[in-house]
Amino acid sequence: MSHDPSTPPADPPDGDRRGFLTKALCCGLGGVAAAIPAAAGLGVLLDPLSRKSDASGTLARIATLDSLPIGDKPQLFPVIATRVDAWNRTTAPVGAVYVRRTGEKTLQVFHTTCPHAGCAVEFREEKQGYFCPCHDSTFSLEGRRSEQSPAARDLDELEYEIRENGEIWVRFQNYLTGHKEKVPVA
């Protein structure tokens, strides 16, 4: 500090009413002045919380029944759906699914996202199961997790419908990873 230390000014009269009031006002008004600009941004900061995706999922056409022989290995299909990305509304890939035909009119559809930490699982023909390349979770052909897997649950199975013209439609839905239960991403 630049002032001459030999002539220190009298400290503000600490403790008296006026001094206390001034200090209290400083803190109060200063707090208000600092809080208002921060509050102005709170809405935008928390805006994502008010935006929910459709929890019931999106129906997407995946393939035709004819293209999947019964008992063949699971096939990987992209899911093309309407995607709202902030100001854009597009039709674009939103994810992928593994589809296996188990019978005349039955399928098994898995989300490719590993329920552990969200990497994409791959089907390994030699192991007859799914394998996650990130943390080595393994799942059986039926999607059951193996004991050693870090994943807390089995692969997420998705609902599907087979329409009269043989088209396969999947109700595509993302689930929170890391949870023991299947919790839809809202």
């Binding site: 630049s2 000014p9 600009p37 102005a40």
Partner: protein, 604 residues
Amino acid sequence: MKGLLDWLDDRTGYRKLAKEALFEHIPGGARWRYVWGSTLTFALFIQFVTGAILWMAYNPSSQTAWESVYYIQHQMAGGWFLRGVHHYTAQIMTVLLVLHLMQVLIDGAYKAPREVNFWTGLILLKLVLALSLTGYLLPWDQKGYWATKVATNILAIVPLIGPALQKIAIGGSDYGHHTLSRFFALHAGILPAMVVALIAGHIYLFRKHGITAKQPYKKPDAKFWPDQVLMDTVACLAVLLTVLVLCLRHHGAPLSAPAEPSEPFGAARPDWYFLFLFQFLKLSFLTEWFGHHGELIGAIIIPGVLMGVLFAMPFIGRWRLGHRFNLAYTVILLAGAGWLTWQALEQDRNSPDYQRAVAQADRNAQRVIELASGPQGIPLTGAADLLRNDPLTQGPRLFAKNCASCHHFGGHDGQGEPVKDPPSAPDLKGFASREWIAGMLDPAQITAPHYYGGTKFKEGKMVRFVQRTVAKYDDEERAALADAIVALSAEAALPAQQALDQREAARLAAGRKAITDTLSCLDCHTFHNEDEDASAPDLTGYGSETWLMGMISDPTHTRFYGSRNDRMPEFGKDERLSEREIRLLARWLRGDWHRGGVPAGSGE
């Protein structure tokens, strides 16, 4: 608690720091005139807080910048308010900078030993102006785009290195993605970092030399805390209050239509605090005295010299009359800037061209937000495409340019401007609507300039038919004609009449029968039938989009006027207009465009 704080103080020394910060010595006690530095620091705090959050929602590229700002302004919770606070604080900062500078000059706080601190202050002033300039472009709207172009074009007139400087600044030869990336990096990264560093130095030097107390002292000496802090806080609150009032009064910051390089923007103006520079470049002496060097001298050399004098003030101030010179110089400079600003505003106020450009800009801004808020959202190609493909925006322009030399639209040229010459073709406002067709089939109106009065068809068969035959219709035939009009108009499927047409389905059927059987329309026209001898335009789908597009493309086609066409150009066949433009015109004439209000919660 005390133990914990003692521990913290031992490890950090925070008490000494706080003491130094708070117990600054103020000879003569706290005064209101010392508040300006603190208000500027506070304004900067507001900009950092609001800016950081805007940053989380902003997207710098030429296809997403406007779009993300639109999303902040009209879709995100309280986004318009956040933007408004950031925008108006920037404006207030300019005012505070001038007040701070004036206080420093009047109190002589720029003189030795405080020269360096004065210079850091001047550099900070320039940095804050640079922040304003770079921020103005970021929304990538028409206003920012065109106004900033002027600024970066001025860069290019710097001798030798100008063109290279400009290329570096805008990240290429022309405005694009990299212009935004660079301006954003400057605005949110480099410039704020420089401001923080310089403010640290500025405050350090201020504390090193102590406050320049104004004589005579009116009160006993005091410390910064708490009296001066309270005054500073109250002043900061006043600044904040001003910002909030401005923000609420103007419903947040403006956002004009997305940048459109193909559309000159007559309403382009820099923000008000740069208007004096803008106006200065208009002064005729620059060209008269310096010829083609006028711009270089007016935009760079003169402002540079004027600024140079400011930097030299600590030295000028050593002379006997130096301080008075400095004060007089600054007052004259500010008065000059004020006068130029007033002149710029006054000229715009009295310029019909400028007012028209502003009105058009406002319409486009309003319209693009209506479109962006529509069910389709904004295409990946960007919001500029919304206006490019909007019949309501493009129709009037295309009409005024291509059609208004013969046709009128409600008596004007489509854009609301009066037309000098009388029309030589029908007025197309409400074309194919029930009213329009009824007027055309009215013996009293068909030869008026509004319909066929200006065309060679004035002497044609249709006019003869209307004036001789229709004029003598009895009640029953008149009723059939009325039904026929409704049926013919329904062919157009005009959006405005759709509900009405649906309600009157029975009448439509009767009308169609009247056209084909009762009335003698099919003597010349076709109507859902084939007739090689037809000599008049096809009434099938009359006024529909396809019909209109065909008509505009090629009126000489046998489906329309054939060889009897009267001067109407073949816009499509001659490639005077593209198919897209013809479709826009047709849709506009049909009143076929997206309707919808601005979304709620937008602040507009």
